[in-house]
């Protein structure tokens, strides 16, 4: 299997699905002539043309809302939000329209829409452009929220998302675009809603997703050298949330740390910890720990930003605390 970057894996998934199905098209800010602000759709405009790679005005509500409308009438749109921070101006369409229409009209309507958005901090973009608000979106029944942490999962899950008849928010992480990993050649689909053990271990269950998956894998490697065996479980999807592999792992290790890039309050870690207490209370040998971003609007200053974001050392320390 060739090792490719996350950027390439996402780009390949889009390209392959557009080649496979003419109903698939992309719209968003700078997706066409520019080639995507993160270069994910570089070359698409020339190959697929302006009908299928549509540069939209900077107007996120209609980028998502028109995506919903086109999906309702049978197309498979991919609405690209340059970053997830811009999702807030399209919030009604993401959480109050797309996930509601199928249920609200008694099953008459379907919204096979994918919304792509880049999440995460660490690039000195300041408080409004650096957030990891993934958990907010996972709150809404009817929406599917995917946040892969490896190139293989990114490719396989994005292809599944495009083929899904449900609205999907597909969250990418800018710092992961350069991450490399092996991706199976040929048709590669990953089912939506399945967590995965990315590294086996026996002492502590370390749960994470997206950018913190990579950090968690590094932490596990480092801890192994100190004789601590860490099992890393990757959620991959925040909704539907598959607790199966997490609970199974926890029953083996009896200790858990959840690492996510976003704020801790009301977050993914809170959800996973609660479910572990609910589903495996008898197996708890130590209080479950969360590793998160400090609860401040993320500062611009490099050192301040670094100190606010969860780092490798924080994950390592948390694992040692639960032992």
């Amino acid at each position: 299997m060739p090792a490719i970057t996350m950027r390439q894996a996402i780009s390949d998934a889009l390209w392959e699905e557009m080649e496979r199905d003419e109903k698939v098209f992309i719209m968003g800010e700078e997706v066409g002539v520019w080639g995507g602000t993160y270069a994910v759709t570089k070359g698409f405009y020339d190959h697929f043309g302006e009908k299928r790679v549509r540069d939209a005005p900077i107007a996120e509500a209609v980028i998502v809302g028109a995506g919903i409308g086109a999906a309702l009438v049978g197309l498979r749109p991919i609405s690209e939000l340059m970053t997830i921070n811009f999702a807030f101006v399209a919030m009604d369409h993401i959480v109050n329209e797309a996930p509601k229409l199928h249920a609200m009209f008694g099953g008459q309507m379907k919204v096979p829409l994918v919304i792509r958005a880049v999440s995460g901090g660490g690039r000195q973009l300041g408080a409004t452009h650096s957030q990891t608000p993934d958990a907010i979106f996972a709150h809404f029944p009817g929406l599917t929220v995917i946040a892969p942490g490896t190139p293989a999962d990114a490719k396989g899950l994005l292809k599944s998302a495009i083929r899904s008849d449900n609205p999907v928010l597909f969250i990418e992480n800018a710092l992961l675009y350069q991450a490399r990993g092996e991706v199976p050649e040929g048709e590669h689909l990953v089912p939506i809603g399945e967590s995965k053990v990315q590294r086996e271990g026996s002492d502590v269950t370390l749960v994470s997703y997206s950018s913190m998956l990579q950090t968690s894998l590094k932490a596990a490697e480092q801890l192994e050298k100190e004789g601590i065996s860490v099992e890393v479980v990757d959620l991959r999807c925040l909704r539907p949330l598959d607790m199966g592999p997490v609970v199974e792992s926890f029953k083996k290790t009896n200790r858990a740390v959840i690492a996510e890039e976003g704020w801790g309050s009301y977050g993914v870690g809170s959800e996973v910890a609660t479910r572990l207490y609910e589903e495996a209370f008898d197996y708890v040998d130590a209080p479950i720990k969360r590793v998160n971003q400090q609860e401040v609007p993320l500062p611009y200053n490099r050192a301040l930003e670094h100190s606010a974001l969860p780092q490798l050392a924080d994950v390592v320390a948390a694992v040692k605390e639960v032992l």
Binding site: F25, A61, V62, G65, G74, E97, A103, G106, T144
Partner: protein, 323 residues
């Protein structure tokens, strides 16, 4: 387009049927059989009846939350409307939508949307779908004067012109956004001036209480869009005789004003026209009214006797199940 007697009587029938449904719905609401919000279309019947009478089956219709009338015009039965109002399994949205969310996709009627202005981006997307697929349908999107002040309106209307989408924007100007007059909410007096700002051809029908004048205004507007010239914006002046919704104390307008407008009751206007022009006899029209009354009585019986949705179907339609 000149109408035959039969066609006139059909339009009159629809208007009367809507009026009777709304009047009986108000009673059922007071009796506690209808829950939630209930926005009555009384006074505005000529608008939707005139508009929908000119659409072809390929033309999509989408509207806001004052939607019972449009539902009837699009061919949903009085029974299905009443059952939905009562939240029954036999309702057009299976009791999951209620007053504000009625749709019948099989009749190309796409609802019934309750967030002010949020369906405009959806309409743009549906029109994009038809343009993308080379279909010749027009998306007819109706909304109130209040919706022209929200961002969704501007994003959707702008995009429709930028992409030359086959959409007919119809603003039903009933002169109040809830209890706030147009003057107190809009910087411009005529809503069509906003379309002017986006370089979209537009017109204003000054008398939306006269169905024939509504049709005269809609016909060229629809033709404009159908001929591939891009979007058109039509403002239709009208008035609602009842409050914004049930329980509205109506402190914002004088009784005299309502009474003055009631003299132009669209059903009375049409009735007098049909008799004066000797298109129909008073007896003909009386029969239409008696029949409509009977239909509504039957619809209420049907709704009352219909089963509630089974509680074990609660989770149905949250997601589209994979095939």
């Amino acid at each position: 387009m000149t109408l035959k007697k039969k066609e006139h009587l059909e339009l009159y029938r629809q208007m009367v049927l809507i009026r009777r449904i709304e009047q009986r719905a108000a009673e059922l609401y007071q009796e506690g059989l209808i829950g939630g919000f209930l926005h009555l279309y009384i006074g505005q019947e000529a608008v939707s009846t005139g508009i929908v009478s000119l659409r072809k089956p390929v033309d999509r219709v989408i509207t806001a939350y004052r939607d019972h009338g449009v539902a009837i015009n699009c061919g949903i039965s009085a029974k299905e409307v009443m059952a939905e109002l009562l939240g029954k399994a036999t309702g057009i949205s299976k009791g999951r939508g209620g007053s504000m969310h009625m749709a019948d996709v099989s009749k190309n009627y796409w609802g019934g949307h309750a967030i002010v202005g949020a369906h405009l981006p959806l309409a743009a997307g549906m029109a994009l779908g038809d343009q993308y697929n080379g279909n010749d349908g027009v998306t007819i999107c109706m909304f109130g004067d209040g919706a022209t002040n929200i961002g969704f309106f501007h994003e959707a209307v702008n995009l429709s012109k930028v992409w030359d989408l086959p959409v007919l924007w119809i603003c039903e100007n009933n002169q109040y956004g809830m209890g706030t007059t147009v003057k107190r909410a809009s910087a411009v007096e005529q809503m069509r001036q906003k379309a002017e700002g986006y370089n979209i051809p537009n017109a204003r029908c000054e008398d939306g209480m006269d169905i024939l004048k509504v049709r005269e205004a809609v016909e060229p507007a629809l033709e404009h869009v159908r001929s591939g010239k891009g979007p058109f914006f039509l403002e239709i002046m009208t008035y609602r005789f009842e409050g914004h919704s049930m329980g509205d104390p109506e402190r914002y307008r004088e009784k005299d004003e309502v009474q003055t407008w009631e003299k132009t009751d669209p059903i009375g206007v049409y009735n007098r026209y049909l008799v004066k022009q000797e298109i129909a006899t008073k007896a003909n029209l009386d029969k239409v009214e008696t029949d409509a009354e009977a239909e509504v009585v039957e619809a209420i019986e049907f709704a009352i006797e219909s089963p509630e949705p089974a509680l074990d179907t609660l989770h149905d339609y949250t997601y589209v199940e994979a095939a």
